[in-house]
Symmetry: C2
Amino acid sequence: MHRRSLGAAVAACLLSVTFASPAAEAPPKKGRTMTEVLAASQPSDWRRLDPDDTVYLDFSAGRVVIELAPAYAPAHVANIRTLLKQHYFDGLAILRVHDNYVVQWGDPESGDKDKARPFGEARRSVPGEFSQAIAKQPFVRLPDGDVYAPEVGWSGGFPVARDPKAGQTWLAHCYGMVGVGRDNAADSGNGSELYVVLGHAPRHLDRNVTLVGRVVQGMELLAALPRGTGPLGFYEKAEQRVPLTRVRLGSDVPEDQRSSLELLRTDTETFTALVETRRNRHDEWYLSQAGKVEVCNVALPVRQAGKKR
Amino acid sequence: MHRRSLGAAVAACLLSVTFASPAAEAPPKKGRTMTEVLAASQPSDWRRLDPDDTVYLDFSAGRVVIELAPAYAPAHVANIRTLLKQHYFDGLAILRVHDNYVVQWGDPESGDKDKARPFGEARRSVPGEFSQAIAKQPFVRLPDGDVYAPEVGWSGGFPVARDPKAGQTWLAHCYGMVGVGRDNAADSGNGSELYVVLGHAPRHLDRNVTLVGRVVQGMELLAALPRGTGPLGFYEKAEQRVPLTRVRLGSDVPEDQRSSLELLRTDTETFTALVETRRNRHDEWYLSQAGKVEVCNVALPVRQAGKKR
């Protein structure tokens, strides 16, 4: 909504996961901007992606990088790793792009016993990991409340919700989160069909589906795919599907072909300060500040490793 | 997140603004589904778009239909109508697609006095219409609360927020809402540069920008545009911009070229029942129900006029 004629002020309002240069000449303000908070971050505020928790999904438009969340979905992540090691997804396709909802990939022939891609060592049925008991998970609570859950915040770099009375916690369906397609039965998912949230957070899916991670780079490539015109956004013709070239676990990719990404740790003072810049925006353009923020309206910073910003 | 192998159950879970056929053979359930609620709707539950409040934006990918909200932004809507009558936008372009945020169009030459498109009878400066006094606006309150505002709901077909203590109400930045780009000054917008929300609701923009309407059809065309790679998602090269073929006020388009759309009235029992299907989903696929819903997570139904569904 910034007009095109803006220059420096525009750069300071950047909301995406890449960052503009800090305006070093800017005078001190009453509150810091996101750009200022990130410019002041220390190397220890950042963490490298663990190659065993990283998925590289390469397709014609480029590379999508996913961070898996084994702490929240250990059985599904284990099964996905097994599928990845077998190169299960190579040559399969994006089957569905449902506007303001999800993009989803899998085996177009999954319904045909003779043509379906074999599962090899992977399980065909994994019990749903929809939530788990609150224990010693890290948790940085967002003080602003939530429509769907008693508590929300972040845990190990992922947006989470909690119900202390029920003693349960779960990953939240925010933009870019990756989940496991399933049929009606709770144990009918297995990780061979995955979806990514690409619209307003469909939080009604929380605790109905197993979330296994989130896209940390390349979301804009998935989000720009043509929407499918069939029910639920499925592509109606085989030629509309978007082939997956190569999908690999990070640790199975030669080091020189890995993306070197760092993510801001969510258990740092820098992250808390960053959330504060999302609650109250002190960039010049803003005339009034919200004072609050939704958990899914905080983009989690990612940068190239080795770069100061 | 439904798997591809699903058939009828999939169709019943459709979330978009088009609707699958009702499952007439389904047995009665404890709660109704969206499909069932819409199938039972009466003609009086629906309203036709007023041609004077309709904008047709035609570009290479197809047509986007916008409903203007003169009740909330009378001065801006008047200025936009003036621009439209002068065919101001024809041949201008989509300049910016910022992933998980906004798509924005306007005059690529707006910064060049000699090349900029003339404004003709339109004003160059319109005071911001960021909120207005609560008066007799229709208001259907959502009972589930909101992170950003004391009250939220719908008014005349638009998502709105209210602060009864401050006596103010405003349109809410939900997916598909259309707003007016501005520079830093509150009166620097005029409607010559418009943006559409295409990601998670950026509610921090509420009361910072004038919202003037919402996309009621064709959102999937805007959402699938390539993301810009410049700061704020601006396209870096002129040839990346997406030209607008023709942008017209509905009443200036010959009747046989108008889209015949009907929108579900938000002040009806049918709409309240529809919201209930978003709070508690009784489609077979769901294992647990949220019990609540965010105002921006309710898609407002649109259908072709004259069709039962």
